[in-house]
């Protein structure tokens, strides 16, 4: 450490010198990077700086530099409101259900497809199952709304089996089920691509050797196929967990309504309603900052855990 420090002070001048030389030799590259850097500064780092309004009573006319400072007031307000518990609980529950049910779905689909020998059949199922991924969220939600109406297809099926008709999207206890299951429907096929690609790199000799050793398909699945997927699963799981506080927000605001806020309102939809629709900018920014901070901490923790114990990490 000490040595490195001394060396870096000693070479500071020559570092600048080297940089100047580097900029000169690569002047066109730096010229290209300039708009990119400007974009990131303006549209990513300025908003991060803009988060200071979370500690102000931001007034659009006075601006960030003229608005009064209020410290942690918005956080206290948030935590004392009846909504804090509700939105945090909903955010966590919806995401935990997604990780439990929606995350494994593409893995299972990939494993099933991998066991199929007919190429035509595999391709057909893949083509069909990717499709919902490309349909816009608005259309997907439009279909969900249409199918869930009391006169809709799902109710027709429920009625056929002797159930009661009702508008499924008006029932708060069904929201999470509808949300998660429609998500599985939309993304399962697309998500399976990456696992199938990982499986295609498995050396076929492994299967041959194991079948000579007397391993059946079940054993091959357990000892060859699944281990081959573990690195991919780990990386994708870290990325997924890193978004635990922010996934699914657009779909939620398309599907929820005041009757289902109790189970559907999440932190980000709450930020949208209070911050944008009611123009409480500072309050919205405060809750948003709380959300992304937790997100970031979870991501770092999970990544470090994984690097240490599973030897896989994002960085």
């Amino acid at each position: 450490m000490e040595l490195a420090k001394r060396q870096s002070t000693a070479t500071r001048n020559s570092f600048l010198g080297r940089l100047r030389k580097d900029v000169f030799t690569n002047k066109y590259v730096y010229l290209m990077a300039l708009p990119v850097i400007a974009y990131y500064v303006i549209f990513h780092y300025v908003p991060i700086g803009g988060l200071v309004i979370a500690f102000q009573n931001f007034n659009a006319f006075k601006g960030i530099f003229g608005s009064e400072w209020v410290g942690w007031m918005h956080y206290t307000d948030f935590w004392n409101s009846p909504y804090a518990f509700r939105v945090v609980r909903n955010t966590l529950l919806i995401n935990i259900y997604q990780i439990l049910f929606a995350f494994p779905a593409p893995i299972l689909l990939a494993l099933l497809l991998n066991e199929v020998r007919g190429r035509m059949f595999t391709r057909t199922i893949q083509t069909v199952s990717y499709m919902p991924h490309f349909i816009s969220l608005v259309v997907i939600c439009g279909i969900i709304v249409d199918f869930s109406q009391s006169e809709g297809v799902i109710n027709d099926i429920i009625a056929f089996f002797g159930g009661e008709r009702s508008n499924l999207l008006m029932q708060s206890d069904l929201f999470r089920t509808i949300f998660v299951s429609s998500g599985i429907w939309q993304e399962m096929g697309w998500g399976s691509i990456i696992y199938l690609a990982a499986l295609s790199t498995v050396d076929p000799h492994l299967y041959e050797a194991s079948s000579i050793d007397g391993a059946g398909r079940w054993r091959q699945l357990l000892h060859i196929t699944i281990p081959a997927l573990i690195p991919t699963i780990t990386i994708l799981l870290i990325m997924r967990v890193g978004h635990i506080m922010s996934e699914g927000f657009e779909k939620i605001i398309l599907l929820y309504n005041p009757l289902t806020y109790e189970t559907a309102d999440v932190i980000s939809s709450y930020v949208y309603r209070r911050g944008i629709q009611e123009a409480n900018y500072s309050f919205g920014a405060a809750v948003g900052l709380f959300n992304s901070t937790i997100n970031f901490i979870i991501l770092i923790a999970v990544n470090n855990f994984s690097r240490k114990y599973l030897k896989e990490s994002l960085w």
Binding site: L19, D22, N26, Y28, V29, M32, A33, P35, V36, I37, Y39, Y40, F43, V46, P47, I48, G49, G50, L51, I53, A60, L112, E115, I125, V128, S129, M131, P132, F134, I135, S136, L137, V138, V139, G142, D146, E151, V153, D156, I157, W185, M188, G189, I193, I194, L196, A197, P204, G216, T232, I235, L236, S268, G275, I276, Y281, G288, S292, F296, W315
Partner: protein
């Protein structure tokens, strides 16, 4: 896959597997088929029908007639085309510039640049500061508000950098000896050689613009700038366009409410067909795109 021995258990497993996958395929496809069949149905038959549809009920184009006569739909279409084309061109240009800089091995500022961009994938200002920024710099209620703030998707830039890195160094070196500068190398050599990657990126951005709606909710007030998806939201989810969508065609009250049942289905088809039409052409790039994206920073 391989020559595994066919025992009874394996046959049972195979059958079960085929049946299950077929069911999954049908479940994925059916909602779209339902909408397609409904959109061509006779309004009177459709409104009396309940349950699954396996073919159009009768045949009628009246829903499409109403939808395609609605001037809002056409404005939305043209706006969306603008956002998709102009947006995607600028996206790809900026992403390529960034990816090129990041793919230079000997660049001293490569690492800080990489950290600066990747960090934004995990932490950002969030909704409110972004909204205020767009307002303050005067993009609010302009078409550019849907293009400029999302110029680069960092994930796509990483995918593109991986594609660029796969271009053999020798090509660039020989071009350099021939006196090519970095702009020539990027636009005349790397982009053409890495065109599969570029195609994936174009696809991702274009589909993103086609399907985007939330930024339009945030940043647009002028209905004349609305993209198609925002009109779809009104028709499909807010149920608010029933009046002015149907009124453009002269008919009596009863017919109107019947046709309204159809309109949802027809607008879904009208808004989805272009994307599904390019889908088969892009399919061969999906795997490549997803795989490249899965590589670590």
């Amino acid at each position: 896959m391989l020559n595994r021995k066919g025992s009874l258990g394996e046959a049972a497993f195979d059958t079960f597997n085929y049946v299950l996958l077929t069911v999954i395929g049908i479940v994925c496809l059916y909602p779209m088929l339902h909408v397609l069949f409904a959109s061509f149905s006779e309004p009177a038959l459709l409104s009396r029908h309940s349950g699954l549809l396996f073919r159009p009920l009768g045949f009628s184009l009246v829903g499409y007639e109403v939808v395609l006569q609605n001037p809002n739909i056409w404005t939305g279409y043209l706006n969306t085309l603008f956002y998709v084309t102009v947006g995607t061109v600028l996206n790809v240009l900026m992403t390529a510039l960034g990816a090129y800089a990041l793919s230079r091995k000997n660049l001293m500022l490569k690492k800080p640049l990489a950290i600066m961009t990747v960090f934004t994938m995990y932490f950002g200002g969030g909704l409110i500061p972004n909204f205020l920024l767009v307002k303050n710099i005067g993009l609010y209620d302009t078409r550019l508000a849907l293009i400029i703030p999302g110029l680069i998707a960092t994930y796509n830039m990483i995918v593109m950098r991986a594609g660029f890195a796969a271009v053999p160094d020798g090509l660039e070196e020989s071009a350099k000896i021939d006196g090519a500068n970095d702009f020539t190398i990027l636009f005349r050599i790397i982009l053409p050689v890495a065109k599969a990657t570029v195609a994936v990126i174009v696809l991702f951005y274009a589909v993103g613009h086609w399907n985007a709606w939330f930024n339009a909710v945030l940043y647009l007030q002028d209905r004349g700038l609305y993209p198609l998806q925002l009109l779809l939201r009104e028709i499909l989810i807010a149920n608010s366009a029933s009046g002015n969508t149907v009124e453009s065609v002269a008919m009596n009250e009863d017919d109107r409410s019947l046709v309204y049942v159809l309109i949802k289905y027809c607008t879904i088809i009208v808004a989805t067909v272009p994307i599904l039409f390019i889908y088969p052409f892009c399919q061969k790039y999906f795997v490549k795109g997803v795989m490249l994206g899965s590589m670590k920073g």
